[in-house]
Structure formats: C-alpha cells, structure tokens
C-alpha cells in the first residue's frame, strides 16, 4: 500500500499503518450497528476507543478478530500490515492463522475467560504451540512460565500449575494478558480489560499492558469507559457514538478541546463536581439528542492527519 505523504505537515513522520479499517459496517441482516467507520492505527501506536454502551466499540474490535457472534456480518475493509487478504472476507481458517499471532485480544471478564478444567500454564503455552512459535511442548511451557513471570503473577511456578478457580480476578486477567502477548502480536486489542477489576489492581494491569506493548512494539487499541485511563496510556483517541466514529485526534487535544457535541457532553458528564443552578449533574441529553433522532450522518470531526483511513491509504484503497 502506498502512503500519501503530501498532505502531511512538516516534521511529522508517519509510520506504516498496522491496521487500516475503511468503511466498516457491522450488522444483522437489516440493522446496521456499526456504520461506515474508518480509522487507522500505526505500528506501535496506542489508540483509545471510547463511547457509551451500545455505540459499537466491541463490535468493531470483535470484527477485527473475526469473532463476531452468530448472525452478525461485517462489510467494508479491514487490512492489517503483512496480511495479504482483507480481514472482512477472511475465512475462519485464515483468521485462525492470524489470531494470537498478528492480532491478540484481552477480554473484559477475566472470571470466565479461562478454561476451568485446564492448568494455567498449558493455556498460555497452547497459543505458542498452535502457531509453532515454540519448537516443542517443553519450550512452550518454559516460555509460558516466563510470560507468567513478566505479568508479575505472585509465585509464578505455583500459579503455572494452578487451575483458574484458584486465582483472583486480577491474577486471571494477568494470565489472559500473558496469553495475548505470547506470540508478540503486532496489534493488541483490549476490550475494557480493567473494568471488572478493583481499583488498585487496575493501575497495575494498565502498567503491564503498557509495558507489554512497548517491549514488543505492538500497536494497541484500547476500549474503555474511563477517560482517565485513556489519558494515561493512549496517544490518540477515537470517540464512537451510535455506531459511528464522531471524533478522533490526539488524546490531549480531544480531551482539552473537544469538537463534537457528544465528546463535549462526555467530558462534562465525567466532572462529578460540576452542577447547574438547580444542583443537577450534567447529563448527555444536554448535549446530544437520542440516537434515534440524531442526525443520520454525523459529520466527521477531526483532522484527517489524525488517522483517517482514506488519507493514509491514498489511492491504494
């Protein structure tokens, strides 16, 4: 793919995109749930994806993984660096070769994400054996134990032999992260990985995710409701609303000077000491109308330089 450089301001160097999503639609037969979204993630870049429940964040991420539920279909284009085919048209076999290798995922709910009848070490080693990144069972287990150390599980030798029910939620989420990082993925997808954890554990988990992607040079797409989390770990931010990306840009700029009314509402609603003259907290309805009456085609607010797929891809798409 050709990278168009002419429109880029001087001094800004853009890396090769790791992920290019263009005109992605996800829906069931007649209903479109994700509507024509486009974005890119550059190699090693950390991107946050925020928006309310039902805005299409998880659908976007699961369609990149090829794990959409029954009856859901994706159209458009999802391209990944080093992958010759479009992920939207990929077969399950093609996805299997990709998952856990080029793209990996950390899920929201650690309590149910691990197989209750399999030892933790085997669950981590499995991904390396599936992709042949470890030459044999013994080596895969050694590498898995090393990963368990890296995610700072207390007493990793003992944890390796444990079953998931013997661990806390935070420990299990570390194991899930170890599984995701096992094959040094080019892109790590995190779907609210800290939502189910208590606050003290959240910070440690975020640090682990951050150091994990930094060490590997992996790109990160991080779904969250937590604006503070976004500010801590992301470089760029995508805001989704009603199945569309309504705003995109560098984190600091979006959070300090939001352009879209929805983003403005989101920021105001997150300030808990703000209230109007009646002592009422600001709500989203002060800023945007209900999704059903919301404009059918909200304008794109954000600089194409902030990662709008069409610009980066240029004529290649």
């Amino acid at each position: 793919m050709t990278v168009v450089t002419s429109s880029r301001p001087e001094g800004v160097t853009m890396k090769e995109p790791a992920l290019v999503v263009e005109g992605l639609n996800v829906g069931t037969g007649s209903t479109r749930l994700v509507k024509n979204i486009s974005f890119t993630i550059r190699a090693g870049e950390r991107v946050g994806l925020i928006g309310e429940s039902g805005s299409g964040k998880s659908l976007t991420v699961t369609s990149i993984m090829g794990l959409l539920g029954e009856g859901l279909t994706a159209t458009g284009s999802i391209r990944m660096a080093g992958v010759p085919h479009d992920l939207v048209d990929a077969t399950q076999k093609q996805f299997a070769a990709l998952r856990g290798r080029q793209v990996a995922m950390v899920f929201q709910e650690p309590m149910t994400a691990l197989n209750p009848t399999m030892r933790v070490l085997d669950q981590v080693a499995e991904g390396m054996l599936a992709h042949g990144t470890a030459p044999g069972k013994r080596q895969a287990r050694e590498a898995a134990l090393d990963l368990l150390r890296k995610v700072q599980l207390p007493d990793p030798e003992r944890a390796a032999k444990a079953y998931p029910h013997q661990m806390s939620g935070g420990q299990r989420q570390r194991v899930v992260l170890a599984i995701a990082l096992a094959n040094d993925p080019m892109l790590l997808l995190c779907d609210e990985p800290t939502t189910a954890l208590d606050v003290t554990v959240q910070a440690q988990m975020l640090q682990l995710i951050l150091s994990g992607v930094r060490e590997r040079g992996s790109a990160l797409l991080f779904i969250t409701h937590d604006l503070a989390v976004v500010a801590t770990i992301c470089e760029r931010l995508l805001v989704m609303y009603g199945g569309r990306i309504v705003e995109a840009g560098p984190v600091q700029r979006v959070l300090s000077a939001p352009q879209h009314p929805y983003t403005r509402g989101l920021l105001e609603a997150s300030e808990l000491d703000a209230s109007d003259e009646n002592g009422r907290l600001p709500t989203m309805s002060d800023h945007v109308r209900a999704q059903s009456v919301y404009t059918q085609d909200p304008e794109w607010i954000g600089d194409p330089e902030d990662g709008y797929a069409k610009v980066i891809l240029g004529g290649a798409a």
Partner: protein, 316 residues
C-alpha cells in the same frame, strides 16, 4: 484434603443409602401378604405342617431377627435359600447378573460410541443441515421404546435377513462366536435408544460450552477445529454428560428386564419376572436388592468421577 473430605462424605452417603435400601426392600417384602410356608404347601396343608415349614424357613422368628439374618448373609454373598425351589439364591443371582452385565455394559458402550461423536458433531454444525439431520435422527430414536426397537431388529435381522438369532443365550466361554451373535440384537435394542437420548444431552452440553467465554479465548489464541473440541470442549461438556450416563446405566438395568423378555435372555430381569410369577419372595428380595445396590454403586462412581473431571471440586 478437600478431595478426601468430598470422597469420604460421598462414601458415608453411599453406605447409609445401602442400609436404608436394605431396610426398605426387606420391609416391603415383609408386609406383602402371603406366607411363604402356606404358598409352598398349598391352602389345604395342616397347621402343623405349615408351622414346621415356617420353623425351617425361619419365618416364625421376629422380623428384626429375620432382617439381621438376611443382611448378615448378604455381607458374605449368601442370599438365603429359595422357599420355592429350595436352592441357594446367591449363585443363581450371580450367574444372571453376569448375563445382564454383559447386556448393560455393551449397550452403554454402543450408546457412548454413537452419542459422543454424533452429539458433538450436531452441536458443532447446529446451523447446518448435517447437524439438524443428526438432531432429527436422535429425536426419532428417543421416541422408540427399546422393546419396539428389539422387535424391529428381530424382524429385520432374524426373520428377514436370517443373519442373527432372534433370541436365546450362549455362555461366552463355551462358544465365543455364538455368544457375540446372540448378544448383538439385544445390545443394539438397548444401546441405540439410549444412544439417541445421550446424543441430545451431549449436543446441548456441547452447545453450552461452545458459548462460554473461554472458548472465545481459545479461538483468540488461534485454535480452531478439532483442537478446540478435544482440548477445550469435551472435558467441560463431559461433566453434565457423566450425570446423564449414571442415570442411563440405571435405566438400562431396568430396561434390560423387558429386553431380556423379548430376546429370551436368562438375565437378572428374567429371574425377577419368573420369581414374581412363582411367588418366590426371597429371590425377588435378593434381585431387587442387587439392582438397588448397582444403582447406588453407579451413583457413587459418578460422584467420584466429577472430581476427576472438574478440578473445581478437587480443591477449594
């Protein structure tokens, strides 16, 4: 330690159940009308002769003494002497039990061999024609009672094709070939119907597991197809299936009573029905106790199997 406690608790429950069962079985037989001595001698027998026979049978003693005598005998494998045939009951029961065990265990094997692959396959392909076809087939199988299946099999293989005997029994050591020939039809009648039922359970257990988050995790690692089934689905789906297996083994023991009638097989079921017809109460009591004991053993083994399959039960 937790596991020992679990197994210990199960074992205590098992032993207490056996005791309660023996009291119930004995008590039920004791309250049934009909004095064995009168039955043996006929209604015209003199009171002296009846009293003498009662003394010989030991039925003139208090019930508690009779119970302890019976249970004490059971512990050493002595089921007493039949009031009707005057033969020891123990050896007869153990011969018949061997025959019924062949039927039940082979039928269970047939059920497992058909249900595990078919049930898993129909779950994996639950949106495809092949999966629906398996579901449909198993639904039909469930609707067929074992004895109807038996009669249909006899009609096809014994009457029409004339390749297998319609009934009877051969002792395995005497004639292994003939033994297998005689085993095939009764085992299929019992096994295919149970297999159809088990297929439904395997299918729904597999579907439940397939929707679990950890299967999504396994797929997100890059696993697909058979490794997902063998490494992640089967172990987890087998936990509810084992429960059903235990129930089915018990059902098969009871089902064998009817199938042994259809195929003239000298098993425990035939013995039970014959003894009831002959008013051979002590034999009925012995057979019922053996069946109850078998059911309790099956339940106990199922409870232990859970701990093997599910690590969550092994430790806290």
């Amino acid at each position: 330690m937790d596991m020992l406690k679990y197994v210990g608790t199960r074992f205590v429950i098992f032993v207490v159940s056996i005791f309660v069962a023996s009291v119930v079985v004995f008590g039920f037989m004791a309250v049934l009308p009909g004095d064995p001595a009168v039955v043996a001698l006929g209604v015209n027998a003199s009171p002296d002769a009846v009293a003498a026979l009662r003394a010989e049978f030991g039925t003139d003693r208090p019930l508690a003494v009779q119970y302890l005598d019976w249970v004490g005998g059971l512990l050493t494998g002595d089921f007493g002497t039949s009031y009707v045939t005057r033969n020891p009951i123990g050896p007869i029961i153990s011969d018949r039990l061997a025959v019924t065990s062949w039927l039940v265990l082979c039928a269970m094997a047939v059920a497992l061999v058909t249900a595990l692959p078919l049930g898993t396959l129909s779950a994996l392909r639950h949106r495809k024609a092949s999966g629906l076809a398996i579901s449909f087939g198993s639904q039909i199988g469930i609707a067929i009672p074992a004895f109807v299946m038996g009669i249909a099999l006899v009609y096809v293989f014994a009457v029409w094709l004339r390749v297998l005997p319609s009934g009877g029994w051969v002792v395995p050591i005497q004639d292994p070939g003939g033994f297998i020939q005689h085993l095939v039809l009764p085992v299929l009648s019992l096994g295919l119907v149970q297999g159809a039922i088990l297929t439904r359970y395997v299918r729904s257990a597999t579907l439940d597991v397939m929707r679990e988050d950890y299967i999504r995790t396994a797929r997100s690692k890059g696993l697909s197809g058979l490794p997902i089934v063998t490494r992640h689905i089967l172990r987890n789906s087998s936990i509810p299936v084992v429960t059903v297996l235990g129930l089915q083994l018990t059902t098969l023991l009871i089902g064998a009573v009817v199938i042994e009638r259809v195929f003239v097989v000298p098993g425990l079921g035939s013995l039970l029905l014959d003894s009831v017809a002959n008013r051979d109460l002590l034999t009925v009591q012995g057979v019922v106790m053996v069946l109850v004991l078998a059911a309790l053993i099956i339940n106990f083994v199922v409870d232990i199997l859970y701990t093997v399959l599910d690590p969550r039960l092994r430790s806290s």
